[in-house]
Structure formats: C-alpha cells, structure tokens
C-alpha cells in the first residue's frame, strides 16, 4: 500500500517549522537586546549542536536497529521494516546538519563549545595540550568524515537493496544484507563510542569516561525506538499497515521498555562509579550539572527511567496506543533534555536556560524531521513485497 501524507500532517509539520522559526527569531532577538548578545554565538551554536545531534542520532539509532535485524535475520519485523527505513531516511539530512553545525563551530575556533579548537586556550591549558594529539581540528575532521561516510554508505546500500528486493525477490539480497548488517554493527560498535567522545565528550574537555559512548548510544537507540513505535501507531491509526498486528506493537513496546532500562542502567553505572571513587577530575562532569541544572539533571533521569518502568511494565500497556504514545512523548522530551545537558553543561554552564531559542530550534528540527520521515514513507510500498520473512511476520503472534 502506498502512503500519502495527509494534508493535516503536512500542515502540522509546516506549522511546527514556522513556529520553531518564529520562536528562534524571538530567541535571537531577546538574546541580542536583553543580554547584549554576549553569548549569542555560543548559545546559538550549542543549541544547533543539541538539535542536530539529537535528530541525527534518532536516524542513526534506527539505522543501527535495522542493521541489527539484518544481522540477526529477524522475522517478526518484516512488516514494520519500511517504518524503520523511513526513520533511517533522515540520515542524509541529519548528517548534513551535523556537518554544517560542526563546520561553523570549527570556523569559530570551537565557539567556546570545543575549547580545544581554540589555539589561544590550548596554550594555557596543559591538560588539553596533552590531548592535542587526538583532539585537533584536522584529526577531528578526518574522524568525523569517516563516521559520516560509513554511515551514509551503509544507509544507502541498505535502502537500495531493500527497494531492489521488492522487485527481484529471492534470498541473495537477504544474505547480502545479513553480511552488510553484521559489518555495520562491528563498525558502529567502535564509531558509536568514538564519535560520542568527539562530538559530545570533548565539550567537557578535561573529563573522560569510557562508558560515555554507550550511554549516548543507549539514549539514541531509545529515542529511535520511541519514534518507530509512535510512527507505526500513527500509520496504523490512519488505516495503513493492515498486516501489523498487536504483537508487533507489543514487541516494539518491549524494545522501548528494555532500551529505557539499558539507558538508565548505563547512566547510573557511570554516575555511581564516579560518585563512589570521588576523584575530582572525574566528578567534575556531574558536579557542573548538579550545580547548574540540578532539577533538570535528576528530573530527566527519573522521567527517562521511572516513566517507562512504571507505565510500560504490564503487557496490556505495551499494546495500548494511548499509553505508548504518551510515555513515548514524555521520554523523548526527557532524552532531548539529556542531549541538551550533555552539550550545555560543559559549554554554557550556569548561563544556559531553556528559553525561546531552545524550544524554537527543537520544534523547528522536529517539524523538519517529521516532514522528511513522512516524505520518505511515500517513496516505497509500506509493506516490503518480497521480504523472505514476510509470511512469518504476518503470522507473528506472541
């Protein structure tokens, strides 16, 4: 069945973008006049980084999830495969926005976000000097280019083969996807960690944590699962996806539930070990966030942990569209705050607050994100025609 964007959805995404743009404008104007534009560049770039990364990461999380299904030769997901693919369809836009943001930040010598990019700053900071073998503009861009190239090449390959499978069928493409999926997982296992160090951990440049990459990765995976389940529910409500039954929704709900736990587990592991060891150079990350954003920092953790735990625990809740959407929305906001604190804690610090600019940019990106995903859904049949496991998926029952 072909998907057509309803005029309501189209208006909504455009309205979101217009409101977002308006709010951003008000935010920029207020920053200029109320604060004499003191933190303008920093605030704008930090916000762009938060939102580019957050939405790029959702696409990437979906890409990882798709590769995981390929590598494990999963059967049940075949009838929601196009939904996952539509979310991965944000990849080129996400990559573009990420590169653009990072490029502007680089030309601004780090824009006080990546202080290690500023040669004046590095001169007076022996700790950063010691890390400059790894953290310098050239190597940073080589790494970023490699990550992005690998992500885009694999995304493109998965998409091409998926559409080709619709035409030719057979199992050759399936086994090719199996191999490519496994290869992607190996590369992603390394890149998800190192890219989190480069893009996010290097903001708190004195601080390091080996767990940070997994924590960022769990956050992106969780957000991606929320978007996938919400999109599936939306399509189902619109009368599309007749082959998706309650069991598929239940499974997607289980993923959301489980990955929320994974994220909470990693967040807590990182927090508790640092709290226990109490070494000043390690505690700095949490201390700055507790000093400047106490309510937000712990509130975000409680929301991202307790909401899915308590509300999605029962079997019926995971099959209930209303509960899933509500929890999904709240937890998605929670993960946005998580990304916001990762960036702001080390850059804006005590000067950061959620005002017009923050909300505006987030809404603008959200509108664009939904718009692109819906647009992506129209480009292929909503149910893959020749997926070898399609029959298994249609009869999926748990």
């Amino acid at each position: 069945m072909e998907f057509k964007i309803s005029s309501k959805a189209k208006t909504l995404t455009i309205a979101l973008m217009v409101i977002g743009l308006l709010f951003t404008g008000i935010g920029v104007w207020m920053e200029t006049f109320n604060h004499h534009g003191e933190h303008m560049g920093l605030r704008l770039m930090a916000n762009l980084l938060v939102d580019s990364f957050f939405f790029f990461a959702i696409g990437l999380g979906a890409l990882f999830f798709l590769a995981l299904q390929y590598a494990t030769e999963t059967g049940w997901y075949a009838s929601v495969k196009r939904v996952i693919e539509a979310v991965t369809g944000f990849m080129p836009y996400g990559v573009g926005l990420m590169i653009l943001t990072l490029l502007v930040i680089t030309f601004m010598d780090g824009a006080h976000i990546y202080v290690w990019m500023d040669p004046e700053h590095v001169k007076h900071d022996s700790l950063i000097e010691g890390k400059s073998m790894f953290l310098n503009k050239g190597f940073f861009w080589i790494r970023t280019a490699v990550y992005m190239a690998v992500y885009i090449i694999f995304w493109n390959g998965f998409r091409k083969r998926s559409l080709e499978e619709d035409r030719v069928g057979g199992t050759d493409l399936h086994f090719k996807n199996y191999k490519k999926g496994a290869t992607f997982l190996v590369l992603f296992a390394v890149f998800s960690s190192t890219s989190a160090w480069d893009w996010l951990m290097s903001i708190d440049v004195h601080w390091f944590s080996t767990l940070f990459g997994w924590y960022v990765f769990a956050g992106m995976w969780c957000s991606a699962m929320i978007i996938i389940v919400t999109l599936t529910l939306y399509l189902k409500k619109q009368g599309y996806l007749p082959k998706v039954n309650e069991s598929h929704i239940h499974d997607l709900g289980k993923w959301t539930f489980a990955i929320s736990f994974l994220w909470s587990y990693l967040w807590f592991s990182q927090f508790m070990l640092i709290w226990y060891a109490n070494i000043p150079e390690e505690t700095t990350y949490h201390l700055t966030r507790i000093e400047d954003f106490k309510a937000m920092y712990f509130g975000m953790f409680i929301i991202n942990f307790a909401f899915p735990m308590l509300l999605l625990m029962s079997r019926d809740a995971k099959r209930h569209a209303g509960i899933l959407t509500f929890v999904g929305f709240v937890v998605l906001c929670g993960h946005w705050v998580d990304a916001y604190l990762m960036v702001m804690g080390g850059s804006m610090g005590k000067n950061a607050y959620i005002g017009f600019m923050e909300i505006g940019l987030a809404v603008l990106f959200l509108g664009f994100f939904i718009n692109r995903i819906l647009n992506n859904l129209t480009k292929a049949p909503l149910t893959p025609v020749n997926h070898p496991f399609l029959d298994e998926s249609i009869h999926h029952e748990i």
Binding site: F268, F271, M272, Y276, N278, M313, S314, R315, E397
Partner: protein, 178 residues
Amino acid sequence: MADIVIYAMYDDDDVLKDGAKKLVAKGVKVAEVFSPFPIHGIDPIIGVKQTRLGIMAFLYGLTGLMLATIGMRYFMISDWPMDIGGKPNETYLDNVLAFVPITFEFTVLCAAHGMAITYLLRNKTLPGMPAQNPDPRTTDDKFVMEFRMSENSQFTAAELHAMLNETGMIELDQKEIH
C-alpha cells in the same frame, strides 16, 4: 461424584491444534492438553486464561526491594555504621547510591525464585511430586487432549469418540475417576 475422563492421543501438535479448533467450534470443552513442549497458540483455543504470574513476579520483586532496603539499612547504618571510603553514613539516603546494585540484585533474586517456585507449585510439578500426566509418552513425543464427560454433558461418550476419530487421533483411552 464419579466422572468419565477421555484421553485422545496425537502424534503431531499441529494435528492436535487443528482438532481442538474443530471440537471447540462444535461446543466441546477441552479440559487439558498434555505436551512435551509448549504448543504455540493452543491457549486461546482451549480457553486457558492469561497467566497472572507476571503480577506475582512484580509482588515478589517488590518484596525483594523492601527486604534489601530494610536489611541494608540495619546492617550498614543502624547496627554498625560502616565507613567505606569516607562516604557519609548518617542516614540511608546519604549512601543510597551504594546500595542500589545490591537492591537490584536482591529484587531480581526474589522475583526469579518466587516466580519459579510459584510456577512449580501451581502446576504441581515440584521435585518429587507425583506426575499428573495421563501417559508417560507425553513427556517424549506424544500429545494428549483430555475431556471430562461432566463438562460435555450434551454429548454421549460415543458421540465424542466419533468426533475425535475425525480429528486424526491415534489412540483413545477412557478412565473413570472418583
């Protein structure tokens, strides 16, 4: 009250499942199915209710959570305040982060053991309990469906036999229980 129980044996789970579907459609009540492994999708056909084991698991987990909290508060705070790495130990909340992993482990321990024991008790399959299955072959490669005449009073035993013969059963057994 005496009751007549009919056991119909099959050598394939799909044949049994299809047979059960046809019989239930005709109004026959299936009392029980014995199988060496779980038959996917048989529960709604023979009208097995959704398990409440999950609720019990939650309650056992909650018990574990509370026991761990009470225990650790007593051991580490009240009875003999432990100074580990200079961490505050005035109140439980001061040190709660250190107790989270143990609380989690104990919650899982209680939930898992509680569930396993409940499951075995409910099915009367604790080690050493007498076997409930009518034929030892249902632990190997045969499947048995059980009917009770008291629940199927609208049919005679002969009618039921005739219906069962159509479903591809391989063996029939009848017992009188008191």
